[in-house]
């Protein structure tokens, strides 16, 4: 059969149900095969939208997302989603077309060195050099994307090779002598960690996106409640532990709660699970958690002692390690009473410094209230994606996530324009939950074109735009750290999102009053098909509390 038909068979063998892409010269053969492939193909309006949609699909399901692009500009348009998937460990396979082999290296029309350009931002990549390699490359690409620490994998296929005739043999084994992720977790280390926890008087469990990736939320909850361990999550980990639980401290880091950051600061033992001590968490590294010893559980050995030296490293899959750690800990029969004093201290921070904002109730919509209204209108029963900026931080602070895979955002790369296409990807993944995007008025314009895709395909995402007329987060930094010199952050009231939504074939609505907001949101959620809700919020409002960049967590402001 044609190599492209073998490609389709290989994708089916991996269980692929939907792909996002846009055709061009170099992948014409592939698109000919998609004509009657029996795999749902969603025609995006920009490859970046397709890449983020594949990420949203992967984050909502835990399955591998797939995005397609042609050579040259198609492939370079994927660079942002690829990098985003790398930073946030999202399993996505990117299939790019390449110029014919005889043109490689000649600056042929639409030739770009896709493998070279993306080398620093992929988990792995394959340049197909013989058509017979295609089925194996696809199988190995999926295997690599999905296993170990998940990440993006590219398969770059020259146009002539994809047209060749080959016999198709399904590939079920992998031949990757250099790729053997450790998943087990060392039993001696697990026992030592349990002992350290039992001897700690000020422990904190600090969980990250790795817990979500490992489908270990259940095991995390068991572990945290095996004693009265205080628990905090990173931005990527939200939902891994139920917000609202008695032992929940809130998010930590730059815009985390004081209780979470102060607890890290005073802890004698920190148990990090699937988290990587990013600078947005640690603040000034040399003053981070100065009294603590560290247990570090991670599937990626290179994360251990990268930023903060670990005292008890445990490499492996968080799910099986947490289950065993819980069992070991229970067997020690530690005295829970020893944590009384620690909880006393934490409770006093929680009482003294709750998250708060002024809500004058004069009709004006405070951005924080907008998030709370969204929570009320959905009852928390929704998958929420977001863009990047103030609205993202307020969502993280004021929307309590109780389950994993319900909060989808771009943490590591901080990619504006992530929210709308990732919502589209999450929405085609087949969940019963409504998919809402909490967008920034700046960010949303970076991938707004996918509204056309949603309208055409009937993908019913609800896009709530927090419209402050500003690149708000940048404005906040200019206000706080640059003497209020607002340089290039005012976007005025352009565009008219309601008209734009309608032009795209979606429904447009505008909300300007606090008093009817929850009701308006409920109505918007009932409207079938894609809906854009333009919410005019207070223009100048800051996200607090805040660890100023490069400062220690102890010195939070606001």
């Amino acid at each position: 059969m044609r190599a492209v038909d073998a490609l389709i068979e290989s994708l089916k063998a991996e269980g692929v149900e939907v792909v996002f892409g846009l055709p061009g010269g170099a992948n014409l053969p592939t698109y000919d095969a998609f004509y009657d492939a029996g795999i749902r193909h969603i025609l995006v309006r920009h490859e970046a939208g397709g890449g983020h949609a594949a990420e949203g699909y992967a984050k909502a399901t835990g399955k591998v997302g797939v995005a397609l692009a042609t050579s040259g500009p198609g492939a370079t348009n994927l660079v942002t989603p690829i990098c985003d998937a790398m930073m946030d460990s999202v399993p996505v396979v990117f299939l790019t077309g390449q110029v014919r082999t005889e043109l490689l290296g000649t600056d042929g029309f639409q030739e770009a060195d896709t493998i070279g350009i993306t080398m620093p931002i992929v988990k792995h990549s394959f340049l197909i050099q013989h058509p017979l390699e295609i089925p194996r490359a696809i199988h190995e690409a999926f295997h690599i994307a999905r296993t170990g620490r998940p990440g993006p994998v590219i398969v770059d296929i020259p146009q002539d090779l994809s047209r060749a005739d080959i016999p198709y043999e399904p590939v079920t084994d992998v031949s990757l002598p250099g790729y053997q992720p450790t998943t087990e977790g060392n039993q001696k280390q697990i026992r030592l960690a349990a002992k350290a926890l039992a001897n700690s008087h000020r422990p904190v469990v600090y969980a990250g996106g790795g817990v979500v990736n490992a489908n270990a939320a259940e095991e995390l909850r068991e572990f945290v409640t095996a004693d009265r361990f205080p628990c905090t999550c990173t931005l990527m980990g939200l939902g891994a532990f139920p917000a609202g639980h008695d032992q929940w401290l809130g998010m930590l880091g730059m815009h985390g709660t004081r209780a979470a950051n102060y607890a890290m600061d005073e802890a004698d033992l920190i148990c990090a699970v699937g988290a990587r001590f990013d600078d947005r968490i640690t603040g000034k590294l040399s003053e981070f958690a100065p009294r603590a010893k560290f247990i570090h559980i991670d599937i990626d050995p290179a994360e251990i002692s990268k930023n903060v030296p670990a005292h008890i490293p445990i490499v492996g899959d968080a799910r099986n390690i947490l289950a065993r750690l819980t069992a070991e800990y229970r067997a020690l029969d530690a005295d829970a009473g020893r944590l009384e004093g620690w909880w006393g201290r934490i409770r006093s921070w929680q009482e003294q410094y709750p998250l708060h904002y002024d809500d004058p109730q004069n009709g004006e919509i405070k951005p924080q209230y907008m998030v709370e209204a969204l929570y009320q209108a959905t009852g928390g029963e929704a998958i929420v994606t977001s863009d990047v900026g103030q609205h993202q931080m307020w969502a993280a602070q004021y929307f309590p996530f109780s389950e994993p895979r319900r909060w989808i955002n771009s943490g590591g790369l901080g990619t504006m324009g992530f929210g709308l296409p990732s919502a589209m990807g999450a929405a085609v993944a087949g969940s019963d939950l409504p998919v809402v995007c909490l967008a920034g008025d700046g960010s949303v314009q970076m991938n707004m074109q996918e509204l056309a895709t949603c309208a055409q395909e009937g993908i019913p995402i609800k896009v709530f735009i927090m419209n402050n007329g500003y690149l708000g987060m940048v404005r906040q930094w200019q206000e706080l750290f640059w003497d209020r010199r607002y340089s290039q952050v005012d976007m005025g009231s352009f565009p008219d999102f309601v008209k734009l939504a309608e032009a795209y074939g979606a429904t447009g609505m505008r909300c300007e009053s606090r008093d009817t907001l929850v009701d308006d949101f409920r109505k918007a959620l009932e409207v079938p098909g894609p809906v854009v809700i333009d919410v005019r919020v207070t223009r100048e409002e800051n996200v607090y509390p805040m660890i100023a960049p490069g400062q220690p967590a102890r010195d939070m402001v606001g």
Binding site: P120, A302, I304, S305, I312
Partner: protein
């Protein structure tokens, strides 16, 4: 600190940090990689973006056609070597990495020196070559080309000694290494 919490006592104070340590010495790292296009670029790119400095790098075939060996030397004062090897391990085409222990390792490099040597100087230079068990591989009217093999220390010692005679140019391969004893490197 209050009452002991469990019968299984352990003092948190006694826990020591693992990894992330600067050793302060030279390291020879031997890496077996799949012999596939682009592998060297992946390694070089990794070093560049993580800010790891390589002192020398040598690449060549092994006894297995499908596998090549990359030998790197690095300064353990500049980077925690465990971070370097763990990052290298993340490359899918990297099969095996050994941070070779100096006392268990045979390391050699090849160097070529072009030295201006006329008249009386020539005899002195040839004597040095003798002492270093080198070879004169080309003799010209006013210069000689000398081949030296040995550890990098030996090559550097030779360089220091011939420099005063007029070192025209020098080329070095960087060290390759293999472990002592029967086991594979």
């Amino acid at each position: 600190m209050g009452e002991p919490a469990t019968k299984e006592l352990l003092s948190l104070e006694d826990l020591e940090a693992a990894g992330g340590i600067h050793t302060g010495r030279k390291h020879i790292v031997s890496i077996l990689v799949e012999n596939k296009p682009g592998v060297l670029t992946r390694i070089a790119g990794l070093f560049a973006r993580r800010g790891f400095n390589i002192n020398t790098l040598a690449v060549g075939p092994t006894d297995d056609d499908a596998v090549s060996r990359v030998t790197l030397t690095l300064d353990g004062a500049l980077h925690p070597i465990d971070q370097v090897t763990k990052q290298l391990h993340k490359l899918v085409n990297v099969i095996k990495i050994r941070d070779l222990q100096p006392d268990e390792t045979i390391a050699r490099e090849l160097a070529l020196f072009k030295v201006s040597a006329d008249g009386g100087a020539r005899a002195e230079v040839l004597q040095l070559v003798e002492i270093f068990r080198g070879k004169v591989v080309d003799v010209g009217k006013r210069s000689v080309v000398i081949e030296i093999t040995g550890t990098d220390d030996k090559v550097e010692a030779f360089e220091r000694l011939v420099r005063p005679f007029g070192l025209v140019e020098m080329a070095r391969t960087g060290e390759i290494a293999i472990s002592r004893g029967r086991g594979e490197t």
